[in-house]
Symmetry: C2
Subunit: 244 residues, 2 copies
């Protein structure tokens, strides 16, 4: 069995997220497993660096899978590109070391959340940004974001808590405005379910003066989801970069 | 009756073009007339600078219409923005001089055609570019394009010919490649049905060595549609600018 590293991008608009729920459902994992299984005439199971929620995009998602085939990775890449739907892009496919695993070996991930911050129309990028026309105080948002940096229990910034540890290290958050577009980039060693979207929602509440800068640190320490802000919608979110 | 100038942009993907065919059909004109007629409680007829075909986009489309209302243009703009579908953007609405007519007064238009010239995936802009991965000779395309500049009978670059004059003045064509994106911009005093898409298709045949540079001037002089190239698909085309 050869191990492979597969790098994808996708427009998540019409999918119910990465993770397969049945065998033929409308998820990116199910779609890719079906494509690879047909192509290689064997059952293929794919592991990704992490799940993305329904409607969330990936500029870069890294996966791994094992298969037994004589087909070269280059030929597989060409065939996959030919058969992939136009909202899933096959960036690269290469043989990987036997023990490489896309989720277990991932050491750092970045997400980008894009906001269209204007009452002007945004017809051509509307599916890849959250439309939030209210005026925002970017420096207050940056001050609030700083309170989340470092290693913390992020229980307050997570839905569907399990008993597993909610401790993660958030290495950086930057909030930049260029023209009418606000780009929030977050990098860390791991992210909980909905964590990026709840952080973004909370920062938007700070930026629009619905909550104080200090309330963000207080929410973090409370470990209580009720103390954090709303969950920003999925269409502005991109899994941006995955590091090994 | 007050006369108005309305500036729009749209993602043409799901529309059967600008021009109304019935009263409730899936065209941009029908959609906008319905919105304005409901808002102003009177029948409103809209004239645009020109039609766009099914699937063609507009970065800027200018329209005019007359209405009898006490509502200010600013309030109309806000209400229109609120009710417009998310693939039609209301850029501006302002009172116009009584004799202003979006089509009759237009003196110059520009179109842009975008091509994704790579085998790499292009997931996020796929609806706004034509995917043409073959290698292209841009300088041959520019040489061929020069043969079309000036005032000519463009019958060879037009489908559905009527008896009206096919003489138009093409003021400029530029073909530029930046990264994997080729942008073709055309400016002129008017364009025939499918003219931009046939010019682009013909230039693509030159760029991929399927026809000679000189064959483009020959096609122009033939006045015969059969001598020009294929009609490039609509999704790469934008009405870009309209001048008065």
């Amino acid at each position: 069995m050869q191990n492979y590293k597969l790098t994808l991008c996708y427009d998540g608009s019409r999918y119910k997220g990465w993770q397969r729920q049945g065998n033929t459902d409308n998820t990116i994992q199910a779609k890719m497993e079906m494509l690879l299984s047909r192509l290689l005439e064997q059952e293929v199971e794919i592991a990704a660096s992490g799940r993305t929620d329904a409607g969330v995009h990936a500029r870069m998602q890294v996966c791994s899978f094992r298969a037994n085939t004589d087909m070269s990775a280059d030929v597989m890449l060409i065939k996959l590109r030919k058969h992939a739907p136009d909202d899933i892009g096959i960036i690269a496919l290469e043989p990987a070391a036997p023990r490489f695993h896309a989720r277990l070996n991932c050491i750092r991930k970045s997400y980008v959340y894009k906001i269209w911050n204007s009452a002007e129309p945004n017809v051509f990028e509307r599916k890849f940004m959250y439309n939030y026309p209210e005026k925002l105080d970017i420096s207050a948002m940056n001050l609030a974001a700083e309170q989340l940096l470092g290693e913390h229990d992020f229980s307050a910034f997570c839905t569907k808590r399990t008993k597993k540890s909610a401790v993660r290290r958030l290495e950086s958050i930057s909030i930049e405005k260029e023209g009418d577009i606000i780009t929030i980039m977050l990098t860390g060693n791991g992210f909980l379910y909905n964590m990026v979207r709840i952080i973004v929602g909370t920062l938007l509440e700070v930026g629009s003066c619905q909550r104080s800068v200090d309330s963000v640190g207080e929410a973090l320490r409370s470990l209580d989801r009720q103390c954090a802000g709303f969950t920003a919608p999925p269409q502005g979110l991109f899994l941006w970069n995955v590091e090994y």
